[in-house]
């Protein structure tokens, strides 16, 4: 039999545009699978010349699911470049905004994007294997999921004035204080939504029991891990230093964001617009690391909120305390983080400074460059700006969350393809599993390529000479 190439285009239930090509060898087994990220917009070029204080309003347009991440990372980079430290109440409000975002983004991903594969099954009919199918199969659960996302979005709305692309953070602080009524309003949704998150965790855990075999062979491989941590290595999503650990969990580095260039380098492949970040000292690809929920929970050693920490301990004990390598456990880790974020919301709302109107410092001490970092839902987000003495951006470098996971996603695609595509017949469910390998990472591909891209889904089976043997279309 001749060699063949399968193309999956587009990958759905992810943010952004991706294409998967799978090369089969003569025996019909998978030789190699590639994840092509087919987007490029060019924020790193066209923001040149804009004012530093405009960046928190331009960069959120990189992504409509996590605009708050860019808004805040940009504001922090702006703080650094303009040499101004926000007053404590402003930092608390920014973090509150961020926690709202974690809740809505993670919540949406589990129940509405990645979830349908788990809740309805990988092999379910594609016509219903989505949020609409969920509404029909389990309206009560779907409503809870919608309410969870709504609560997160409403936190963003209440704190900043808008759900998507808010005008809120400025260098030196924020422009809107929180009043008591709004604080109480947010608090009123806490208990119900913590319940929903716990329900999600229960659903996953029972699914995990039934599907243990799959979990243990579905894209399981060692990598390094990276994320922000508190001074004593607790999970941190807003402040802190960047920590990198190796595949056994041992610390490789712990550094402030401004030093990221010393430790992180990016590799370019000819077949993807998404670059491949890696730990410089170990080279590429030995130095690749994963970020996002799985990465962060392997990098941290504890969680400083009680409910999340309890679940975290259970999670980390699954494989004898070693870092969790199973791609499908991204979903589990994601839910634990959602719990943490909800508990953080409570802590922030209880802080006496959260209602303060001391929310802006104006005394600036401009620097030639500055770096801002935050843990976006999908991973470590770095904004690095260089500015002239007029406060205009002369150049910028962005390393966006999902980008750090590029190698891992490619490897996951390759691994899942090789594990599940074994025979001459290729089923839709098998292809869906390959997509699910990408989906588990909750990639934000518009973000990570700060880019463009789009792909429809067609599977072309071609021989080595490029002749079309078979075409599988998914309701296309």
């Amino acid at each position: 039999m001749a060699t063949q190439k399968i193309t999956i285009e587009p990958v759905t239930r992810i943010e952004g545009h991706a294409k998967i090509t799978i090369n089969l060898n003569e025996a019909g087994r998978v030789d190699h699978a590639y994840l092509h990220i087919n987007e490029f917009r060019g924020f790193e070029k066209f923001c040149e010349g804009r004012m530093v204080f405009e960046m928190p309003y331009i960069t959120p347009r990189i992504c409509g699911i996590c605009p708050v991440s860019h808004h805040l990372a940009s504001a922090k980079a702006g703080d650094a470049v303009l040499g101004v430290t926000p007053p404590r109440p402003a930092s608390l409000l920014r973090e509150l905004l961020h926690m709202g975002q974690i809740v809505q983004s993670h919540g949406m991903h589990f129940f509405e994007l990645g979830g349908p594969d788990l809740l309805l099954g990988f092999d379910a009919d594609p016509a219903i294997r989505n949020v609409v199918g969920l509404i029909q199969a389990n309206p009560e659960l779907t409503l809870k999921a919608v309410t969870l996302r709504k609560w997160g979005q409403e936190i963003i709305h209440i704190v900043s004035g808008r759900r998507i692309h808010p005008t809120f953070a400025v260098p030196g602080g924020v422009n809107k204080a929180l009043c008591k009524e709004d604080r109480d309003l947010i608090l009123s949704g806490l208990d119900t939504n913590i319940q929903t998150i716990k329900t999600g965790i229960d659903i996953f855990r029972s699914w995990a029991v039934t599907n243990k075999a799959d979990i243990d062979k579905f894209a399981v491989f060692p990598t390094g891990y990276m994320g922000l941590v508190t001074p004593d290595n607790g999970l941190e999503l807003y402040n802190g230093n960047i920590r990198m650990v190796d595949s056994s969990g041992k610390q490789l580095e712990c550094f402030p964001a401004k030093d990221y260039l010393t430790y992180i380098s990016e590799h370019v492949e000819n077949w993807s617009y998404l670059k491949f970040p890696y730990y410089k000292k170990m080279g590429y690809p030995a130095g690749v690391y994963r970020v996002g929920p799985l990465g962060r929970l392997n990098t941290a050693e504890k969680i400083d909120t009680p409910l999340a920490d309890e679940e975290y301990k259970r999670y980390r004990s699954m494989y004898g305390g070693k870092p969790i390598e199973n791609t499908l456990h991204y979903h589990y880790a994601r839910l634990i983080e959602t719990l943490f974020a909800a508990e953080r919301v409570h802590m922030l709302l209880d802080d006496p400074d959260i209602l303060s109107t001391d929310i802006l410092n104006t005394h600036q001490n401009p620097q030639p460059e500055g770096v801002g970092v935050i843990e976006a839902p999908r991973g470590t987000l770095i904004h690095h700006y260089w500015a002239n003495e007029n406060g205009q951006i002369t150049k910028l470098n962005l390393i966006v969350s999902t980008g750090h996971n590029n190698w891992a996603m490619c490897n996951a695609v390759d691994s899942v393809a090789k594990t599940y595509i074994t025979g001459p017949e290729i089923t839709e469910g098998q292809l869906n599993r390959v997509e699910a390998a990408v989906r588990a990472h909750d990639p934000c591909l518009s973000c990570s390529t700060h880019a463009i891209g789009q792909m429809p889904m067609v599977v072309d089976v071609m021989d080595a000479k490029g002749n079309l043997i078979k075409e599988i279309r998914r309701n296309a």
Binding site: E54, Y57, I58, N175, I359
Partner: protein, 640 residues
Amino acid sequence: MLNITIDGKQIEIAEGTTVLIAARAAGIEIPTLCDHPQLTPYGGCRLCLVEVDGMRTLQPSCTLPVMDNMVVRTDTEKTRDARKFILNMLFSERNHFCPYCQVSGGDCELQNAAYHEGMTHWLLQPNWKPYPVDASHPYLILEHNRCILCRRCVRACGELVGNFTLGFEDRGANSTLVADLGIPLGESSCIGCGTCVQVCPTGALIERWSAYQGRETEVEHHKTICVGCSLGCGIDVLTRDNRLTRIEGDWDAPVNSGVICEVGRFHPMGEDRERILTPLVRKNGSLKAATWDEALTIVAEQFKGKKGKASGFISTRLPIEALDIFHQIFKGLGANVTSLEEGMATKSSSQLAEEIKSPYEARMDSLTKADCVFVLGEDITKDHQVISFFVKRIIPNGCKVITLDSAANGLDNFAAISLKAKEGTETEVVNTLTTALKTDKADLSDISKLACINTDMLKTAIQILKSSKKIMVICGQTKVKKGSSGLLKAAYGMAKQIGAALIDVKGGANSLAASQYHLDEPINVEGTEFCFLALGDERPSQQLIKKFEKVTFLVVQSSYVSPLTANAQVVLPVQTWLEQEGTYLNSEGRLQKATSALQSADGVRSSLDVLTGLAEKSGIKINTNWKTRLTERVSPVTIE
């Protein structure tokens, strides 16, 4: 009066009125962009096009004068189509990115015009030629991509401020707003008043400090009085969550009609001194927090029995009510009682008023008809900038400006003649000019030698003064510290001689009021054992700080930490000018009420409350009839 019909409504309107204004009188708002009520009509944007019976093409209503029996239609299919087309062309000409613009979402007149026409998209896309962002200026950003070439800023810079920095170069699609002859704004003759930003309809001109601080719908407005100088311009203070976001000129204010300078608009935005939030009392060598009761009791105790050895000083940034109570407490009890200005900007004018026993100054509006302005004794472009705007902006009407100064003066570039006199000789120069104007036969060689001014220059100045019909003399006193006293008297003499109006600019916000209370002596703390310094939010100069270094018991009533508070025995925290309310007497004699725009923190009190509390603790009877006491002394201006 003419009769016209607009949209079926018949109205009577004065000849010379434009159709736009006539429509407004009839309650009809015609959409505009380049038009502005404070600026001369331009007719550039063409958004205000209307149908006029008998006229073949649509007419711009902002520049079209009404004609008798005119029939106008403002809202027809033709005018709506025209407006949509014009807006489409405007959007296609440059690069308008609404998503992240600072004025997007309600504060952009261009966007609002598009909404008004129901535009959901552009019929013409831009060709994406990039335009520059000029960020060279410390206060302003000039974003050329958003400019709609309406020239409001050019007109404002010329007509309202008289600086003429902004202009246009090139033509057609290449027309570009430029500063001076096309140099970065930060290197140009721009004086940073920000009037251009206030009139810009889009986000083309942006203030750095107030960017993204809040839209119209998110801020509160507080109309009050600027305390930057004696002019007392009316301002609109915008706040959000009890935080200052922006200061604008109040278009309705009688003193300035909306124009303000950088001192009023931008200096307060850069305020970053540390606030004092609780009374402090020195115990065992260091300042410790105390209650108001404790602090005031200590002060009153110290003050008792120090008659003749106590001194009191007050800032002219404080309202009259505070000045008055201060005066009631300290008059007769203090050895040295005066304002921090030490009368330097008002002593001469007050003494002159007492001498001639009546007010003698004119009001600023005399300037509008002046054909010659003689400015001496101060560089008004520094500390009384808006007065310099009033002078500069009438120059295009044919008004000639003469300056008399011993150093470079900000008006030199605008003056017809700049007389540079040797320091200390200004009074003689003025007197000589007066004589020359009187007799026609003055010998100028002596004064020329003394003052080092070319006789030809002096002759030209005399010539100008002689041939002018309505002359205004604007005099200041701050440049005469070095001993050329009598300058004001000389100016008065000249004004009287030639029938000119005279204005003395005076000093700080309540400069004149302080003088009315005789708080215009020099500071001399020698021999005083107790000193009360009502500093308010004033920033003390090094000289001032030095003066109080050796005082044994210093009480400072102040908003901010400074070397003075660091050395004090008692510190009493007070409101800043934005937090307090009170009355101010401007240099023309207008009594204006300032209202509070921000709420002060709990431990902070108003200066008035502190002084009232001090009086109570000291057993001094006071009353609040400040108006009577204010007008006891003859004033150089009519106070009302």
